[in-house]
């Protein structure tokens, strides 16, 4: 079996002492920032990007991946104990998880969240191992036209799944594409949109944009609201759920895992969407939905499994097509490029140790999380009592040092200020920053593939419709738009995000 030999290669890589260490470090750091409200995986990974330069590529990616799925575990702890989402994807866990805590069942809620996440993580790991190779084979046949259409589809899907206004999300994507092509044009050597500033000739750094719009802008918005946090410090006992809890939660875990895995693969998907969808789904499926919102264990088990599954399967488009499906994956592309690896289908054949090592590490990381997390809960609770006024200056410092150290330049730090302003204005005007980040990373790739496709077709734009794969991808993109714009679905979508 090829799969087994591949996986054993992967485990060989993941189980070396160095990689185990970075995996542990990643999942612990991920849990930490997941627990702390006000700082998420995007800002953390962005901060660590410059540091990864000094690590071997496999270790760097293993660590960064661990931060993402580790954050899903940590986010649920805060949701259950404090009624605050430690991480965006655990918003729905607050609904039933906190109620369970108030009824003295915090232990059961935490336990089932960890167990559900672990099961989902294992399943998603197998799924990646099974589906990534055939997808990568398919992607190797892609020419520039197919790539361009695929990116169009990815961007459209990302806007459809973003919440809020569709047209604003599309506008944010286009703005991101434009910001992405600032800098020297590779074909002609023309420095574009640099306004005579030499630092801009190399383009705007991705980390600068991500930190400004996510990290700093969010701190400023958080500071506008007062701080009120009521930690459930009552002793958390009995981490193991009862037999009855298990019986009730098991089907919810299974459903959440499947739903989350499917939604994670979609461009624009990932943990956030998966958890929302799973909660709605559990509510619809339940014969007696009256307990939802009052401490139903299914309302914890479903979304918590789904967000972890979604976090992991969102690696599939990244690893097979080289296309990021959400902001965290866009950062992973950044990390690969820092290491001199061009993301895409060739990664699997050219660097099998990297590819399979990373997949195996996800399983190892999930095991570490479930083993370590439950005993460490006491420590996380202590951390939650640290007030935000001590946290945010620390986050500010790490953001500044992270951005500065990429090029050792003050200019980048000042650029981050500009993007923080843009991010702040966007939050106030209800424009989601995530689509902009996706557009930003895809801008140069899209232009390059568009140019190549048009050159090959001698300037005939019909090439995008004549190639069957490309036409199919574009058709799906149009279909998605039509479905969303259709009034009936639009109403449903708004309802879904309302919940």
């Amino acid at each position: 079996m090829e799969l087994i030999s591949n996986l054993s290669l992967g485990f060989g890589v993941a189980l070396t002492l160095t990689n185990l260490f970075y995996c542990l470090f990643g999942v612990l750091l991920g849990t930490l920032i997941g627990v702390l409200p006000g700082i998420g995986p995007v800002a953390t990974i962005a901060m660590l990007l410059p540091v990864t330069f000094t690590l071997p590529p496999v270790s760097a990616l293993i660590m960064l991946a661990g931060i993402y799925y580790g954050a899903q575990y940590g986010g649920s702890t805060t949701a259950i104990l404090v009624n605050l989402p430690g991480e965006a994807a655990s918003v729905v866990t607050t609904l039933d998880g906190y109620q369970m805590a108030r009824q003295g069942r915090a232990g059961a809620a935490l336990g089932i969240a960890a167990i559900g996440s672990f099961i989902a993580g294992c399943f998603a790991t197998v799924l990646i191992a099974l589906f990534a190779p055939p997808l990568a084979d398919l992607a190797l046949k892609f020419g520039p036209a197919e790539y361009f259409s695929l990116m169009v589809l990815g961007l459209i899907a990302a806007t459809v799944l973003a919440h809020g206004s569709l047209i604003k999300a599309i506008a944010m994507v286009v703005l991101g594409l434009l910001l992405g092509i600032v800098g020297t044009d590779v074909n002609s050597g023309t420095a574009r949109f640099n306004f005579g500033i030499p630092e801009l000739s190399d383009g705007i750094g991705f980390v600068t944009v991500a930190m400004g719009m996510f990290g700093i802008a969010e701190i400023i918005v958080n500071l506008e609201h007062g701080e009120k946090r009521e930690v459930f410090t009552a002793k958390v006992t009995n981490l193991l759920p009862t037999r009855k809890d298990f019986m009730q939660a098991a089907p919810a875990i299974a459903r959440g895992t499947l739903l989350g895995s499917a939604l994670g693969i979609l461009p624009g998907g990932g943990a956030l969407l998966a958890s929302f969808a799973a909660y709605t789904f559990e509510k619809k499926m339940a014969k007696d939905a009256s307990q939802f919102g009052k401490g139903d264990i299914r309302g914890v088990a479903g979304p918590e499994s789904a967000n972890n599954a979604g976090a992991q399967t969102s690696f599939i488009p990244l690893l097979t097509l080289g296309i990021p499906s959400n902001a965290v994956m866009a950062l992973m592309i950044g990390a690969m490029m820092i290491q001199g690896i061009a993301p895409g289908p060739q990664v699997m054949s050219e660097k099998p140790d990297l590819f399979w090592g990373m997949i195996a590490s996800m399983w190892v990381g999930n095991l570490m999380l479930v083993v370590l997390n439950l005993p460490l809960i006491g420590m996380w609770i202590k951390l939650l009592t640290v007030p935000y006024r001590f946290l945010y200056p620390a986050i500010l410092l790490f953001c500044c040092i992270g951005v500065y150290s990429i090029n050792n330049s003050s200019f980048d730090v000042l650029m981050m200020v500009l993007f923080a302003i843009l991010g702040y204005v966007c939050i106030k005007l209800e424009c989601e920053p995530a689509p902009l980040i996706l557009g930003f990373i895809l801008g140069p790739m899209m232009e390059e593939n568009l140019r190549r496709a048009m050159l090959l077709s001698r300037g005939d734009p019909m090439v995008f419709l004549q190639k069957p794969i490309s036409a199919g991808l574009l058709a799906v993109a149009v279909l998605l738009l039509v479905i969303v714009v259709a009034p009936a679905v639009r109403k449903k979508r708004e309802e879904a995000f309302q919940e």
Binding site: T54, L178, L223, Y404, V417, K428, L429, P461
Partner: protein
């Protein structure tokens, strides 16, 4: 005409401004043709597309539901941004320790509570942590103390 949806109105205006801005600046570069696209081709098309999208959002804002832009609170915004800017400019001349103190103190002024004792303790811990982790741990080439002192 009355602006009903102020959020959308300003968002639309922002997109129109960005779109036209990119399209106009792109006129400085060669356009090329469909076969051989010049450096101006892609940004011009996208810039105009963005302007059209922005215009659509803007027009729609006269017809859609009533919203207001939530008020900007300038104290945290300005102080946090100044703190970052100062850190960026002063890291090289003043070194990591003093730049960290400035960042933490100015940044903390943007919060709700400001207690000198707490802020100074926090700044000391972060400065020590920064020097240990970034200078010694990751050997990033920062000055620790002001360059003038040696």
């Amino acid at each position: 005409m009355k602006i009903k949806n102020a959020k959308d109105f300003w968002a639309g205006a922002m997109f129109v401004a960005f779109g036209l801005g990119f399209a106009i600046v792109a006129r400085n570069y060669p356009m090329g043709s469909g076969v051989r696209m010049g450096p101006a081709y892609f940004p011009t098309v996208l810039g105009l597309l963005l302007a059209v999208l922005g215009l659509a959002i803007l027009v729609h804002s006269f017809a859609s539901a009533h919203t207001r832009v939530p008020p900007f609170k300038f104290r945290p915004l300005i102080l946090v941004l100044i703190a970052i800017g100062l850190f960026g400019l002063l890291l090289k001349p003043l070194g990591l320790v003093l730049a960290t103190f400035i960042l933490v103190i100015v940044g903390a002024l943007g919060g709700h509570e400001f207690r000198w004792r707490d802020v100074l303790i926090l700044a000391s811990i972060l400065a020590a942590f920064g020097v240990l982790v970034f200078n010694y741990g990751l050997s990033l080439p920062f000055n620790i103390w002001p360059a003038a002192l040696g």
